[in-house]
Symmetry: C2
Subunit: 352 residues, 2 copies
DNA sequence: CTGTTAGCGCGTTCAA
DNA sequence: TTGAACGCGCTAACAG
């Protein structure tokens, strides 16, 4: 039925072992022999059997990329960058690796399921992107799973996710974003403009990204002696709708807010819509800031003040590390800072 | 080292075959035996060896999803929906399938490479999303590959992509978007408002989506006796920047354009930015329409008139078909229509 | 309902 | 530089 290595060997009049060697290029093979084998491969249209190869070699060409939400460009951009560094040549037989992205939908269970599936496939590497869920049970389960993956020879890289508490996965490399610093910068920018009554739309609870950005915001408030009124913080998902609803809620609680700090750009867009629908002008009546600087953020009207995260660069780096093509940062951890992008959505508060 | 089926069998005091049966749930097993086996699995923390399983069963739990651009929500939304229907229980051993998305970056070569990789892995199914490249050589190569995949037992589903010319892959199911109809609706909407001088920003050449949407536009023009001036059409990529530059080019060629028809929403956003930067108001000076109705389109200011494609529904359906959980449409082809969403970005032309 | 027996297709020793 | 032989871990017949 399907063409096997043995078929190719017969056609090239060599042993299966030789064909294997040609394909993997790990052993010396006479040029003429190689030539003949490759021709046979071509003529028979032979395709290596991945599972058989993986079984015999005890490792596969699969590399998994876990994302929280594949429909969110935040993850799409990182995943694309990671994949571009992995997809190229460099794998075993045939020269290509299969970089695959798995969508957890932010669900801890699915995250674990995918990790198990990847473990089952004997993946060569796994890259986990985005914030982690801060549930002790789950965090432990993930850390355990990552350790097992590492022990089984799977390289594990965290991209945009803080390292798990040592020594759970001391072997996992982590490229983490300075969410706290970014959060602080944004709020300080607003404070510098004269804002004092700022609403904060946080992401889902129990997520590291949510917590760190919020902490940065509070750090800035504290540093400037501004009281942190709990009523000014609302939690929601990382999507437009959550931003819309949270903004209406914030306005209800405190109608004379002068600024809204959103957990990310998508949420900020929803916030802008809610403000417009409430008859408020941006930034004349209320300033708005986002986070991430996704491509559409510059298209908002007015353009969004935000913190730019080098998603593509970080992803590419994570991909190279996963492939063993780039040195691991000292201590296995690198913190990547964001850059404040001041644009039209922020201005001096109304009274000033 | 790693725990194998045999270890579990020994611990549960049954034969390996029985363990396999319990795991796959395909054969009757006594409840008490099953119990014992599952306990052993748990105690030993056993993880099935995917490659070995795939080798023996001649099929794997892998399902591939090919997308042109993973950073584009158009694909992200479809991929997420497909994956949600596939990721669930229903696979072999362990009950889960590994739905993986592969990013071709729009490159025909990478598309073929991924198909080969998936073929190599003996994927259970493959879903190809988005428009196809209209290059004869490549189309033939893809069709051939798809046929081979089909012959090898891999289910092939096209989602948002027109069926390849029969009989190349007569076995592939195709869910295709009515891009031509959508294009026609948009232009007819503009014509109905009184527009006559419309610029068209098309997607990349040699792509079915590009061609179909453009043809719809031209159909509408022809139906209303409006001459189709080639100078009013510019090609570019499906991104914001292309929309920005193309709009400037269109304005240069014909400053008194009253409307811009963009290949998709992302491009439309770029067009809006270019118009604003040129001092033109939307829709007072120039109307703009997009295509797809991505989530951010309603957030544009003014909100974008566009054609809504049921991306999530289509993806979910494709996923179910790939899993054999939904009937194949008659003839293997289903055309999915879009819905015209009239919003603030279109209005009567200036002179009217 | 369960155990035994053969491979699945390939990588990798060990000799030659 | 090449071939022969073995086993990777599992599933699928076939008996029992």
């Amino acid at each position: 039925m399907t063409v096997t290595l043995a078929d190719v060997a017969a056609r090239a009049q060599v042993s299966p072992a030789t064909v294997s060697r040609v394909l993997n290029g790990n052993y010396p093979v006479a040029a003429s022999t190689r030539e003949r084998v490759l021709r046979a491969v071509d003529e028979l249209d032979y395709v290596l059997n991945g599972p058989a190869s993986a079984l015999a070699a005890a490792t596969s060409d699969l590399v998994g990329i876990l994302v929280n939400d594949i429909a969110d460009p935040f993850f799409g951009i990182m995943a694309g960058a990671i994949q571009s560094e992995i997809g190229g040549p460099g794998g075993r037989a045939g020269g290509e690796r299969l970089a695959v992205v798995c969508n957890t939908g932010g669900s801890p269970e699915r995250e674990l399921t995918y990790l198990t599936l990847l473990q089952r496939q004997r993946a060569a590497a796994v890259v986990l992107t985005g914030g982690a869920v801060e549930n002790t049970a789950h965090a432990t389960a993930v850390a355990t799973k990552l350790r097992k993956l590492g022990e089984a020879g799977t390289r594990v890289v965290l991209c945009g996710r803080p390292p798990a508490p040592a020594p759970a996965d001391a072997d996992a490399v982590a490229l983490t974003f300075d969410n706290r610093g970014g959060g602080r910068q944004l709020t300080e920018h607003l404070i510098g403009l004269g804002h004092r009554r700022m609403g904060y739309i946080a992401g889902p609870e129990e997520r590291t990204t949510t917590r760190h950005r919020l902490e940065g915001h509070r750090d800035a408030l504290a540093a400037h002696g501004i009281a942190d009124d709990p009523a000014r913080t609302v939690h929601g998902r990382y999507d437009r709708r959550a931003g819309y609803e949270a903004t209406l809620e914030l306005l209800r609680r405190e109608p004379d807010l002068t600024a809204v700090v959103a957990a990310n750009d998508t949420v900020a867009l929803g916030a802008c819509a809610a403000l417009r629908d409430s008859g408020l002008r941006i930034p004349d009546d209320v300033s708005v800031v986002g986070f991430d600087d996704l491509p559409f953020s510059i298209d908002a009207v007015p353009a969004l003040t935000t913190v730019r995260l080098p998603l593509a660069d970080a992803g590419a780096r994570a991909g190279r590390i996963a492939m063993g093509r780039e040195e691991v940062p000292p201590g296995g951890i690198a913190t990547i800072r964001g850059e404040l992008m001041v644009r039209g959505s922020t201005g001096v508060p109304k009274g000033a």
